[in-house]
């Protein structure tokens, strides 16, 4: 589990980072906290010849209000996110999600940018070299099988980032910077349902910050995570739900789910649902059913597909009941 040799760059500005990224192309990897990347490098499943370290990019870790919006820099650590007064005041569920990541040490090292861009996971992918030599490579390791879904023609690695669910439910946007400029896109457009390439980042592009809109009146949210143990584990399913307005008359309701597919997914009430009826048991049942249907998961990593669906239903119900104050 030793690291292969690599070059190490420490750009001071985003544009310099983008330029390096573009120049080095496939040989390069961005490193923020390193808690995901270095593990993969040790396994030998990612072997960058050069690392572009974001640590020294000025201002990339700031958490600040810009007008009405809250901007969270990609380099802000999960600990900084969950302890930030601005975050706690405006979207405490993001703090909840950051707190659910791994354990304290990982939150101190890990960044929100790294958490969003977290590589999809699979028991057949994140393994050491000698382990992998015992079977033909899977898609994600350059081969042509997926061991999670035999016969499948695509990779089914699971996206397991915790904060993504909260950000999706909150309607966040991401600011992406590339050598030619930048673009701001809703975070749901950022994720791609593909275990091999799960973000829309283009060559030379990186994630600069997350932009959270001002909370709506009466907004509340929660992030519920089901994992095997009380700490350390990635979500088997994670559900974020945000509601604004009142229980009696909902203004906006959005659910997002992570850990169940190659990208996180959003569940929203159908456009024609009667929002003035409020968060009724019937609406909760409807959303639970929708969430279960939308969860098209393969049997994976100790739990079966049907159990994972079951959990999604339980978490969605619990989250909504919590928001409804039931």
């Amino acid at each position: 589990m030793r690291l292969k040799k690599f070059e190490h760059f420490e750009p001071r500005t985003l544009s310099e980072a983008c330029r390096l990224l573009k120049e080095q192309g496939d040989k390069a990897a961005l490193i923020a906290g390193g808690t995901d990347l270095v593990v993969r490098m040790k396994y030998g499943v990612t072997q960058p010849q050069c690392l572009i370290n974001l640590k020294k990019v000025e201002g990339l870790g700031s958490i600040a209000l810009v007008g009405e919006n809250l901007h969270v820099g990609a380099l802000a650590t999960l600990t900084q996110v969950r302890c930030s007064d601005l975050v706690l005041e405006r979207c405490p569920m993001l703090a909840e999600a950051a707190l659910a990541v791994g354990a304290a040490q990982l939150q101190n090292m890990g960044t929100i940018g790294g958490n969003i861009c977290l590589e999809p996971r699979c028991w057949y992918f994140q393994q050491g070299r000698s382990w992998r030599q015992a079977r033909p490579d899977c898609f994600k390791n350059g081969g042509s099988v997926c061991y999670m879904a035999k016969g499948s023609r695509r990779c089914h690695a699971l996206y397991c980032g915790d904060t993504a669910a909260a950000l999706l439910a909150l309607g966040a946007k991401v600011r992406l910077v590339n050598p030619g400029g930048e673009r701001i896109v809703p975070i749901e457009e950022f994720f791609v349902d593909d275990g091999m390439r799960h973000t829309d980042l283009q060559p030379g592009e990186l994630l600069a910050e997350v932009i959270l809109p001002a909370p709506l009146p009466g907004q509340r949210g929660t992030y519920l995570k089901y994992r095997k143990r009380g700490a350390l584990d990635f979500p088997i399913a994670g559900v974020a739900a945000v509601m604004s307005g009142t229980t009696a008359a909902i203004a906006r309701l959005r659910i997002a789910i992570t850990g169940v597919g190659s990208s996180p997914l959003v569940v929203a009430p159908p456009p024609d649902y009667p929002s003035e009826a409020g968060l009724t048991p019937a609406l909760i049942d409807l959303l639970v059913e929708m969430a279960r249907k939308q969860t098209r998961t393969v049997s994976h990593m100790e739990v079966s597909a049907s159990y994972r669906k079951e959990l999604v239903g339980v978490l969605v119900r619990d989250a909504l009941e919590k928001l409804g104050g039931a």
Partner: protein, 777 residues
């Protein structure tokens, strides 16, 4: 009440500060000038013939100093007994499990060694593999060892009393199948060895071993050097739990690489290597048939076991024998029949792990007793009280109980668990709707050997050197692998010599210096080595007495040693300081050294691996555990917020150390019951890292753990002490599983208790109830 000055006190462990401060040195912390780094090449197949190994390119890589393969060890094989030697330091001819050691390399640094591994070419002919023990025993199954037909590694068949007649007499008979899964030892320091071969034939090795003297003999045999030339020095050990008993390829390879290269060689396994290919607990299928009277009195057990032995035998015979011995305890079983097969499979080798075979059998037997109580409408506590063994009892197989506080442990556990407030039989709750969280309580009892009595050398020896300034060094070959025995043995010295714990130094095992010892297994150290230390300390005191008598002008019998003083009983002013006595003694006449020595063997003959007749140990501990569980009926998740351990340990030499053991048992038991499992596919472990494997974290353990010690002052053990190590983990599983039944009315007979299994059991039960209801209407 005992009137000890040191024993029985809650004294912190002597190795605590260095470990907490990070200054304790483990094998990997050591290095020698010119040292090379070793790496091991492992098999990528669960079963294959080795056609050819080409090491040329690896040998040519700059920085590589030695490459070895199986042939370098000639025909050397090792194992517990002459007839079970089926392990090679490096594979010969065949590989029998994925991850088996095939070749090893020593190079100037780890990177070079790793690079060299990639340059070794091994041609394999892949053979069909068998990874299921039941399939392995079928005709036509792939065969692992030519000289062990039918894949039978160990077979034991025995019985006592008349089982068939007992079943005829029984009012109720039940038969069930239980499965205990593959779990790992979970030590945090990977196996490691630093070896130095000095020509022509001297070996020095620092290795992480809980029982170093196995390896000391192994190395002597393997390298054909006299035992006097094998120096095994034991650094601090980061846990063992049975996974660091014997010699393993890592040790043999380090020595061979050093011999070949002429340089010291260190090999430290990665955690991945440990978790995927090192030893683990025996998975077991237990089929148990039990007959009882209406009142719950057990009449007979008929038990058939199929144990998954993996590719080698290891200490398997003791595991299989243990399961039989503890089919007979802690309840009275007048008639018993037992047949066990330990099957070879293409999996890593199963060995002892905390409880060695006893967890698996007691899980089955104690859960089944609970099933019987439920079926017959009997109270779970009373059925245990009714069947509990007692002092003076002799099992049908001939195990003799000299001290037994089982009833007291039941009473203690019941009281501490507030059983009467919380327990309602499932029958009473059955028709109430299950809430989102269902709660239940469960109880189970245990017994354990206080020092396993294996064959061969089984005696502990202690040497105590009393220094002239009144301090002492204790030389013992009994290793502290983290269980705290160093502290407890030092306390015994301090007690007998009347000095303080901090006045006693216990260097770690060094086979050239410390007396030979069986090792730290089978919960033997405190009670067995404890007696050797007691005798040695008395011997040292005896050497001081004549001088003390002379100086104090008193009869030797009237002299007491306490509080660093030596004084005449009843006249404390007639005293001298201990260190004045030692100073005077060493200079007495023409001078002397004060060296006490003591040996203590076992009071019973060796275990009978064939018939299981007679004792397994000179003394037996007893205990009861009570668990409180919460079951989330929507997700199936089980948590254990509270657990009680009440243990008859004879005498608590150090209550603080005992508590640590009890809490460790709960952690190990909760892990085994709920969290841990090697998920495998065709012999490949899919969870070879600590994130996926899932040892419970502190958040997953009971928030409240109650530890009760019942003192029965055993006639055999040191100061009346019995074991309090492995035994306390024996009933953790059944206590939790019984509590789950009490909460939701389903029996989990297949470990681990994953949430998904619980949910499925609940569903099946509901469906069944519905079907029955429909059938009735």
């Amino acid at each position: 009440m005992s009137d000890y000055a040191v024993l029985g006190k809650r004294l912190p462990r002597v190795d605590g500060p260095v470990k907490a401060a990070g200054s304790a040195r483990f094998t990997d912390d050591l290095s020698l000038p010119g040292m090379l780094h070793g790496k091991i090449l492992r098999s990528p197949h669960p079963h294959a013939r080795i056609l050819r190994i080409d090491t040329t390119r690896a040998e040519q890589l700059p920085g590589v100093r030695a490459v070895i393969v199986g042939e370098d060890f000639g025909d050397y094989r090792y194992g517990l007994r002459a007839d079970t030697r089926d392990e090679y330091p490096l594979a010969r001819g065949k590989v029998r499990y994925l991850g088996e050691e095939v070749a090893a390399v020593a190079a100037v640094d780890e990177d070079t060694a790793l690079e060299a591994l990639e340059l070794i070419r091994v041609d394999y002919e892949v053979l069909p593999a068998v990874t299921d023990p039941e399939e392995a025993l079928l005709e036509g199954a792939p065969q692992l060892h030519d000289d062990k037909p039918g894949n039978i590694s160990v077979h034991m068949k025995t019985g006592f009393g008349d089982v068939d007649e007992a079943f005829r007499q029984a009012d109720y008979v039940r038969e069930d199948r239980f499965y205990s899964q593959s779990v790992l030892h979970g030590f945090l320091e990977p196996n490691a060895a630093l070896a130095h071969w000095e020509a022509p034939n001297r070996i020095t090795i620092w290795a992480s071993k809980q029982s170093p003297y196995f390896l000391y003999r192994n190395l002597s045999n393997c390298f054909n050097v006299p035992l006097s030339n094998v120096r095994l020095i034991q650094p601090y050990i980061g846990g063992g739990f049975g996974g660091k008993n014997g010699g393993y390829p890592v040790d043999f390879c380090a020595v061979m690489l050093s011999k070949k290269s002429g340089r010291p060689v260190k090999i430290v396994l990665t955690m991945e290597e440990v978790l995927s290919s090192h030893r683990r607990r025996h998975p077991m299928i237990v089929r148990l048939k039990t007959g009882v009277r209406k009142d719950g009195t057990i009449l007979a057990h008929d038990c058939r076991i199929i144990a998954d032995g993996g590719a080698g035998t290891g200490v398997g015979p003791s595991t299989i024998a243990n399961a039989f011995y503890f089919l007979n305890l802690p309840y009275v079983v007048p008639n018993v029949r037992y047949e066990a097969f330990r099957a070879y499979t293409n999996r890593p080798i199963s060995v002892a792990q905390r409880g060695n075979g006893i967890q698996q059998i007691r899980y089955a037997a104690d859960v089944q007793l609970e099933m019987i109580a439920h079926d017959l409408g009997l109270d779970p506590v009373r059925i245990r009280q009714k069947n509990a063994v007692y002092t003076g009892y002799r099992t049908a197989s001939g195990m003799n109980i000299h001290s037994c506080g089982l009833q007291e442990t039941i009473t203690g556990a019941v009281r501490a668990a507030e059983w009467d407030t919380h327990y309602r039989p499932w029958r009473e709750k059955e028709n109430e709707p299950l809430g989102r969280i269902a709660t239940g309580v469960g109880i189970a009892c245990n017994s354990f050997q206080s020092g396993a009595r294996l064959t061969g050398h089984n005696c502990c020896t202690a040497v105590i050197k009393v220094h002239e300034d009144g301090t002492a060094s204790l030389l013992t070959g009994s290793t502290d692998s983290g269980q705290g025995s160093e502290t407890v043995l030092a306390m015994i010295v301090a007690e007998v010599l009347g000095i303080r714990l901090e006045d006693v130094f216990v260097p770690q095992t060094d086979s050239t210096v410390t007396p030979v010892d069986p090792g730290s297994f089978g919960s033997r150290v405190s009670s067995t080595a404890g007696n050797a230390v007691l005798i040695a300390a008395r011997d040292a005191r005896q050497q001081l007495l004549p001088v003390a008598a002379e100086l104090l002008k008193a009869a030797p019998e009237a002299i007491e040693f306490r509080d660093c003083k030596v004084f005449v009983r009843g006249a404390p002013d007639k005293a001298l300081r201990f260190r004045d006595l030692t100073r005077q003694t060493v200079a007495w006449g023409s001078g002397t050294s004060i060296i006490g020595q003591g040996s203590w063997g076992q009071t019973v003959p060796p275990m009978n691996f064939e018939t299981g007749e007679g004792d397994a140990s000179g003394a037996y501990s007893f205990g009861t555990q009570a668990a409180w569980v919460e079951v989330d009926t929507r997700t199936g998740r089980v948590t254990v917020p509270r657990m009680v351990v009440a243990h008859d340990l004879g005498f608590a030499l150090n209550p603080l150390a005992v508590e640590g053991q009890h809490e460790g048992s709960i952690a190990g038991g909760v892990g085994h019951t709920i969290y841990e499992h090697c998920v495998e596919e065709n012999g490949q472990n899919l969870t070879p890292n600590l994130t996926a494997y899932g040892l419970p974290t502190v958040y997953d353990l009971p928030r409240e753990m109650v530890s009760l010690s019942i003192e029965t002052i055993d006639p055999v053990g040191a100061f009346g002490a019995k074991e309090s190590g492995e035994g306390t983990q024996v009933s953790t599983i059944p206590a939790i599983v019984n509590a789950i039944h009490n909460a939701i009315g389903v029996w989990i007979t297949d470990l681990p208790v994953t949430p998904e299994k619980v949910l499925k059991a609940l569903r099946d039960k509901k469906a069944q109830a519905k079907a029955t209801a429909e059938g009735q209407s």
